[in-house]
Symmetry: C2
Subunit: 315 residues, 2 copies
């Protein structure tokens, strides 16, 4: 039986650094990334691709706001915006990957599954909103949106008299349709799923599925999906080849291997960037804790060169 790999594409695999994020840029970056991944297919791996959606859903939220302002079009809630981004990005990734495979003479089907991810209404995230989304507002407009839509705002740390919407980032507890994703992937079809961490939903007291205004960390959702579908390997692709200790300081140190004990020590020392490397390291560790054989954090080109970046292990 073929090995199954879950590969989580970071934001910069699709929109890089200061790019505006035109479709031409997104097409090119995705193609570059995929060219590094085909070796896994040539080695016979089955594959599930997941991806972030930060800049894309950010733009969708701004367009929502602008559409209401200019044309009085009703805004869609955050869950619909996330699902929109899964559709648009899934299609784009599917098409670009199909073309890369064609050039490499690899004949594989690719399918994008819109993915809901179940969270708990009692998640502590709902009493501590942390994730900043959408545009900057002045106080008056923020207060009005807060009153009209129940949105929660935090003061911007970067700009004076500017407020930004914050939403909770609850822990994923179940991936809808994971059995279908597993079946498709095990049959050799490349599956694109859990885009942007998945559309967050919960079950109410009557067992009804309800929407939530929240975002789920894509690495956490990808790790859970990987465990639940029995993936062998989990690759978290980002814009650096390794995890580093004291990243960006003159004490910066490459970490080629990271055990659970070392990770816990380094977390206590606050050695990882909170908004970036910390959730990756945690998700990578959780995958091996749940029985996965291999967790790796690296960039796409290192993955291909088999330097393999930072390998996270239990012992």
């Amino acid at each position: 039986m073929s090995k199954l790999a879950v590969i989580a594409l970071g934001g910069n695999a699709i929109i890089r650094g200061d790019e505006r994020g035109t479709i031409q840029q997104q097409n090119k970056n995705s193609t570059d990334t995929f060219e590094h991944l085909t070796y896994l297919l040539k080695e016979g791996y089955n594959m599930v691709l997941t991806h972030g959606n930060g800049p894309q859903v950010g733009n969708i939220l701004l367009r929502n706001d602008a559409g209401e302002e200019i044309y009085d079009i009703p805004q869609m809630p955050l869950d619909i915006c996330v699902a929109d981004s899964q559709g648009g990005m899934g299609y784009m990734l599917e098409k670009m990957l199909k073309n890369v495979l064609k050039c490499e003479g690899i004949n594989k089907e690719i399918v994008t599954i819109i993915t809901q991810v179940v969270v708990s209404k009692d998640d502590p995230a709902f009493s501590n909103y942390t994730k900043r989304v959408g545009k900057l507002y002045d106080k008056k407009r923020a207060d009005a949106l807060s009153a009209n839509k129940g949105w929660v705002f935090k003061k911007s740390s970067k700009r004076k008299n500017a407020w930004r919407r914050v939403v909770p980032s609850p822990k994923p507890i179940a991936i809808m349709n994971e059995d279908i994703i597993k079946k498709l992937a095990d049959s050799g079809i490349i599956v694109i799923a859990v885009g942007g961490g998945g559309v967050p939903v919960y079950y109410d007291d009557k067992g009804m599925l309800k929407a939530l205004e929240a975002v789920i960390d894509k690495d956490a959702a990808s790790s859970l999906l990987g465990s639940n579908i029995g993936a062998d390997e989990f690759y978290l692709l980002t814009d650096v080849p390794y995890v580093y200790k004291n990243f960006g300081t003159d004490k910066q140190e490459i970490l080629e291997f990271l055990t659970k004990a070392e990770i816990n020590k380094l977390i206590k020392e606050k050695a990882f960037g909170e908004g970036n490397m910390l959730p990756k390291v945690k998700s990578a560790l959780r995958f091996v804790e749940n029985g996965g054989a291999k967790s790796v954090i690296t960039d796409a080109s290192n993955l291909e060169n088999k330097k393999y970046g930072t390998r996270i292990t239990l012992l």
Copy 2:
């Protein structure tokens, strides 16, 4: 083996008449529609759902325009907007149907597949743009967009000095991932696919998949999908219980059965609305021509009451 039905939801199954299309309205209308469809599941049918996206993708296009105007966010091309709408609507439909099934005690999986539909670059539609999309512009802005983005405009028939973008509506010739859709549906999973007629793509001379600025008629794409996956029955749900001859005139006449010969005669007499009933009748006919057992045009409540609306037959 269970019978397989393809059900194409018309726009009004989701946003009705003069509604603004808030998410609350879309949730409610979808739920109402689905409550009429559960009887098919109780009778043991397998099911593929397809849907229009007119108002939704229209709003996405307006938001794109507004987002560029206010925040200078790059606009996404039409194919990405269609794929976005497949994601957002697919998720919404999936969730509302899941809840209707829960209330009815029906335990079925539902999955949304982002669907590309292949068209021919040589389709005559590319020399006769017919489908109006997006907002009204004045001449100056239309000329600028025409020069910058290559958009084609036609003068509005409704408003003076107003121009609207037109795009081609080519014929669908292949549905990507139709084998996957068939396998899932035959295994009893409800599949949502071909949203908005599918994302139009074509293969260039090198066999590369390329995007197109076009829209595909959702009934034509649904009919083709139904034929290709060997569906037994094809239901085109709209806002009237029957197809009528001379609809809306005092000579209006219910058509309970329509044969191929009658359809061709009535098409010559221009008895069907060009933008609405004509493509439905043609798509329903094509399904039985391709070997499908049953094609019906009706509204959701008549479907449940088994009046079955207008049945299209070969003879």
